[in-house]
Symmetry: C2
Subunit: 206 residues, 2 copies
DNA sequence: GTATATTAACTAATACAATTAGTTTGTCAA
DNA sequence: TTGACAAACTAATTGTATTAGTTAATATAC
């Protein structure tokens, strides 16, 4: 049972991702992965390029897993209802796969086309929903960023134990999203396709 | 120049925090701190209880530094204007001290009164501002969470390089906050002190 | 002022993680 | 059948945190 070929790159990454989900991304070591696979540490280098690369792969896996789940949640819904369903799927995934999710949030080198592509797929999905709300291109980008930031912020602060008070976090996210959407559709109702609010700290025209 | 007393706990933490800001929290090692202080690694243990404790101290320092800066930004302003100023101070701090800020977001053991207290000071500040908007206690909590999540989400996604498109991130945050506030004040104008929207994925009364 | 206790540095040693180099052994295809 | 390749291995190196035990300088007590 020594030198037979038992592994491939995909399986190594999958096992590592599961470990990251179970024990935390920080606790992910090559030693743990090797032990789980019943091989010696250096053998891992036949499949992956070290620990840093492995973490990147886990993050990439996370992004690629997440997108279709969001798309499925949005299917058959429109506007803010679709966005709420997407938000729900988003937090569901982050709670089910904390290691993969955290790995997906790591600083990526600017020139990483695979990661960029996987991220863009999610952004495109959100933009297409927001377009149906009647937002112009620039506002779509602003809104996508705000939406992602809100969800990610909740997940991140929750993971950090930042919510001490005994009020349901999931409920708070729903309320916050509701307020955000309210502002979105209100502005658009008043002045479609044109920005009314220019609330930069430093005003454009002083 | 051997055994004289040159250090204290505060200075060790401050130097470590500066290193974390400059080179990144991940790159913070006891070796780097010791080198910066011109001592050997084990000597650090006279002042701090290891690397994990040092990171916690840096986070605590971050929280304690942040609160007065937010308070100063809010001073003399009210309502959403105060919140916008606080948000600006928040991102300013996170950009100036990325290491301290990141350390402040680490999962804290549930029973860490110092960290809890430092965090509560910030939450209390935000709640007092939101109270002046006429929100009831429950909505204050929801709004504080949404506000923090939005800001932290932006900072976090920006640090992860998640905003690929060439549109100003600072501007996006301003717009997102504007929409969020719009929803906040709108709801309150319509039905002060009572919730109108109950947008949970699973409705309360089916 | 001297004796004592404490503080804060040190050296030495251990354990563990990641990585690289070089080797061996199955497996597949010509 | 045989030769190239893939994928495991052992061995060794480096860098990390941590603990134990030691020593010198400083502060404090008398």
């Amino acid at each position: 049972m020594a030198k037979t070929r038992r592994l491939d790159r995909v399986r190594v990454i999958a096992v590592a991702a599961d470990l990251a989900d179970e024990r935390g991304l920080e606790a992910l070591t090559l030693a743990a992965v090797a032990k789980e696979l019943n091989i010696r540490i250096p053998s891992l280098y036949n499949h992956i390029d070290g620990l840093a690369a492995l973490r990147r792969e886990i993050g990439l896996l996370g992004l690629r897993d997440l997108e279709p789940q969001l798309a499925r949640a949005a299917a058959g819904r429109q506007g803010t209802e679709a966005l709420r369903a997407v938000a729900h799927a988003y937090t569901l995934y982050a709670n089910a796969h904390p290691g993969r999710y955290l790995a997906a949030q790591r600083p990526a080198s600017a020139s990483d086309p695979e990661l960029a592509l996987a991220g863009a797929a999610i952004v495109d999905l959100l933009r297409s929903i927001l377009k149906s709300l009647g937002l112009n291109a620039r506002d779509q980008i602003h809104a996508v960023r705000g939406f992602r930031a809100l969800i990610h912020g909740f997940i991140s602060l929750q993971a950090a134990g930042g919510f001490g008070l005994p009020v349901e976090v999931e409920q708070s996210l729903d309320r916050a999203l509701a307020w955000f959407f309210e502002g979105l559709v209100l502005q658009n109702r008043q002045r479609p396709r044109r920005n009314k609010y220019r609330l930069a700290i430093r005003p454009k025209r002083p």
